[in-house]
Amino acid sequence: MIRVEELTKDYGARRAIDQLTFNADKGEILGFLGPNGAGKTTTMRILSGYMPPTSGKAEVAGFDVVEQSLEVRRRVGYMPETVPLYPEMTVFDYLKFMADLRHMPDAEDRVDDALEMVHMGDRAGGYIGNLSKGMRQRVGLAQALIHKPEVLILDEPTIGLDPVQIIEVRKLIREIGRDHTVLLSTHILSEAQQLCHRVLIINKGKIVVEDTPERLQARLAGAQRITVKVGGDADGLERVVGAVTGVAHISASIDGGLEYESAAGQDARPAVARAVVGAGYDLLELHPIGLSLEEIFLQLTRDEPTPPAPDDGEPVEDEPDVA
């Protein structure tokens, strides 16, 4: 559905994206994750037919974005980050205008359908200028859906929404994602985790890593990390835990407990539990902690080398830092 090859875009002297190469298949929800200024919006603008790349090739639904821009635009629904709208138009008029521009034969029905999908059927007569941010976002989403495009490109679709609205929009995206190909960008990591089949982390115009959220976590989790928390006085806990074989890299965790790493393949938990209780502490918590996507994100965008995928057979070299 989306094929990008060595895509590069320069704004004068500044290289916004550099030799990006990736694919998205039909029915896939692909997430673009990256800090601000990484090149997500630039890539989306190129794929939606807004601007041409400086070099490289991009194809959407089988059409080249430069040579066959009009065909690409017919098949793409795009919601820009700023969600531009016309405040002096009513919701219905605006969506009908967009439907007319896309030559929809039964424009009014399409507008009603799109409004139903975003749960704004009762606000059709209102002026866009009077809507709240969340509603405007939903109108923007309706605009992207109105022509039932094969590909949806959503630039930060949940930005600025309150938690209830965020859940609704995510649910909507999941529903839509079943029949469409969706490319969405976000810098909310849990969102990428919840919604996307695959995640692309971009930094400074280059793809840092590309994988499913689960495998990404597995790749970077490396050695097992366990957290230990005791009640009351924790003096000397470090020494006690450190004495257990198989424990390496002890550090204090933020919430007052202790974190340690055990070498891969070894589970030191039973020994640690016995040691802690035997030394007279009140053991409250003892459980493993995975590497959150947040930490993956921070680590990767801090220009550290990425550990290879597990099936490469090489040992994991970088150990995750404790935040």
């Binding site: 603008r45 939606s48 037919g49 807004y50 601007m51 041409p52 009009l70 635009r73 017919r74 793409v76 795009y78 820009p80 700023t82 531009p84 709208l85 016309y86 002096e88 138009m89 205008f97 967009m98 007319d100 521009l101 896309r102 030559h103 605009q143």
Partner: protein, 246 residues
């Protein structure tokens, strides 16, 4: 083709949703109405023959002044609000967008001009045996062509800016240049030489005032206004296309 009409229709309707066009129309018709009254008083006293030029002459000038107000926002506002991104990612060709915007402005200007038709009708009753029909037809044709060209210049300039004020000021400047400064330059050239003739052809108002208003329909005048319209639309399209690369 359909896209052009969709865009033009929206622009035209949108004009009536804001106060500015109503105010402009009101001012134009007010001035013309007052002048009409005064001219009739004067004409009745003097016994001099009157024609449609008492209406069309001031109206052409007022329409020229109104153009920046009408056209400044067409593309500048879209650029400022970011909605240009929606239009440029829709399956609409760049020239369709520009022509659609132009058509919306053009239709508004024609609407204003159309209201003024009551004056020649009134005049026809008051003057015996009736006013000269020829200049009425050619005069209004001239107005139509003039509006087309004015709107095209306005749209082209609007495409270059994100600020309505900048587009407004530039459009006004360009139109004043074409209306007066060019005439001035023609005089400098001596009035008869090649320079004067070439520059004189560019004068936007002589084509109307000297010829069409007098009942003369000359191909060179029609060609002038049509070329100017085409040039404006072309430049506007180029401006929109280059937006994509920024």
């Amino acid at each position: 083709m359909r896209n052009i009409w969709t865009i033009a229709n929206r622009e035209y309707k949108l004009y009536f949703a804001s106060p500015a066009p109503y105010l402009i129309t009101f001012m134009i018709l007010l001035v013309i109405g007052v002048l009409f009254y005064m001219d009739i008083q004067f004409g009745a006293q003097q016994g001099a023959p009157m024609g449609v030029e008492v209406v069309l002459s001031p109206m052409a000038f007022l329409l020229m002044l109104a153009t920046p107000v009408i056209t400044a926002r067409l593309l500048a506002e879209e650029q400022r609000m970011g909605t240009i991104e929606l239009l440029l990612t829709a399956p609409v060709r760049d020239w369709e967008l520009v022509v659609g915007k132009w058509l919306g402005a053009f239709m508004l200007m024609l609407t204003i001009a159309a209201v003024s038709i009551i004056y020649p009708l009134i005049l026809n009753r008051l003057v015996s045996p009736g006013i000269d029909q020829g200049p009425v037809l050619s005069g209004y044709l001239g107005i139509v062509l003039l509006c087309a060209a004015l709107a095209a210049i306005g749209v082209a300039i609007s495409a270059f800016f994100s600020s309505q004020i900048a587009a407004f000021a530039t459009t006004l400047g360009v139109l004043i240049f074409l209306w007066w400064i060019v005439g001035f330059l023609t005089q400098l050239g001596g009035g008869a030489g090649l320079f004067s003739q070439v520059v004189g052809y560019l004068n936007i108002n002589t084509h109307f005032y000297n010829n069409m208003l007098r009942g003369v329909i000359d191909l060179q005048d029609i060609a002038y206004y049509l070329s100017l319209t085409a040039l404006g639309l072309f430049v506007g399209t180029m401006a929109v296309e280059t937006r994509r690369w920024r």
